[in-house]
Amino acid sequence: MRRSRLQAWLLYPLLVLVGAVWALPLFWMLSTSLKPESQALSADVGLLPVVVDAEGAPRSALEPAYWAEAAATAADNYTDVWTSPSADFPRYFRNSVLVASLSTLGMTLSSAIVAYALARLRWRGRQLVFGIVLATMTLPFTVLMAPQYLLFKHLGLIGTLVPLWLPAWFGGAFSIFLLRQFFLTLPKELDEAAEIDGCGRWATFWRVLMPNAVPALATVALLQFVASWNDFIAPLVFVNHQEQYTLALGLRMFQSQHGGTQWTELMAASVLTTAPVLVLFVVCQRFFVQGSASEGLKG
């Protein structure tokens, strides 16, 4: 059956509309973050900020002077946020980088080790453990947050960043699942050849399997980095000093202090928090899509 040209013509506007609607919230956030306060809080709708010349007439976006002045306004908003006295965004940023990096490293390494056991070693209990891995996927964090708080409190770790990255070092159900599936696709001959060459288990894993699993490892690492960067509930529950805020938590505190008034700064802070993740997405889109298609868990 061949599709008529007409069908494509009718579907196109729908595709464009969907793209526009889904892009709108982020574009609007960016757009507001570039405007002066007076333009954001007005009934005028414009994607670009308005810049007026000496006589008060609006400049066209084609003039170079427009961009110079618009950039100055935008820079003001972002500088105000970055150097805000009521928040410490440079520190939040460093904390987020630290937590996300540590948890990504731990999650990738540990999950690969466990996945190796589930995919490559033959042992009784393997199916049982794999079943437990799958079962833990359905355990919601909101159920765990209060009891985990008690646990970390007993361990004396409340008020440190440790609760935010330590659990990742024990692997995660989804990462283990994804890496196991990937290891299963690698030919068994790889391990056998390594054994004949005298490699022990660790050498087989580290020098033979891991280099062959780079795409899957990258997917796991990226998804974990984003999950950790974006995580809001765990920092909210486990962190209680401003010096330990991550960006997501810092943004929320900034919002609760300035909510309802300084929208341009709030949008600038939101853009600062979001941008690293979206840049990562654009650069590494392939890995995200591969991983999330089998995941479908983030929502």
């Binding site: 540990s110 909101t142 009891p147 288990r201 929502g299």
Partner: protein, 291 residues
Amino acid sequence: MSRATEHRAGWIWASPFLVGAVVFLAVPVGLALYTGFTDYALIESPLWIGLDNYREMGDDPVFWQSIRNTAVYTAAAVALNFLVSLGLALLLEQRLRGREVVRAVVFAPVLVPIVASAIGWMWLYHQEFGLFNVVLRRLGLSGVDFLGDGRFALMSLVVMGAWVVGSQVLVLTAALRGVPRELIEAAGLDGASAIWRLRAVVLPAIGPALMFNLIVSIIWAAQVFAAPLVMTRGGPAGATQVFTMSIFQNAFQYGRMGYASALAWLQFLVILGLTAIALRLGRRFVQTEAV
């Protein structure tokens, strides 16, 4: 390598996960079960009070309100996300130029930190200067206080949730790859026969994927928390007070760890039950291999 050493090696290599599951999952869940039977304000040691926490729920008006709100939110969000993700997936599997870009745009919200998207949507929903209200007024309609009016607040959160439907769309598009192209394209536009084909051929073929989405969607909606916390703080007048918010408030604001643990256990059991029901219904409606 002998079978015995390989057997031992299996357990050793799997031990990071096993230790983590015990320490960070089993112990806390067990701890919560115990704490749920106690009066525990974190300062003094827990005091055993039996089933009092569970009995108290019955007389707690906030409890019932949060149950109602969470049930309404879950039903509305699961239904809307189901329809939106299916529609988007069918559209994105049409052979149209530029669909790769739209696919990326639809997925992007999944990666936005929930606090940032919540703040972005608060701005869109703003009563006076929010884009939606500015446009409504331009059209000569009266504005709507999306988040400040108890009649609309919960549904405004549902609509925002449908914006973050990208991973469900990915799951469906992956499943649609296994369906003959012509059937999907016919579903795009073709009048009544297309709808019939959609129901008779396409939907059954992607049944397991739809089922998977439905279960994940229920689990996620039933524990919604971050968006209402940031956007409405449960208000106005408790209109968006959801269940997880009650757990959070009791545990960390009212210093009632015992009651919070009991609530958490109840949530655990309810989510488990809902998942089981969804799976059972799924087996009935989905003919293909087990979900």
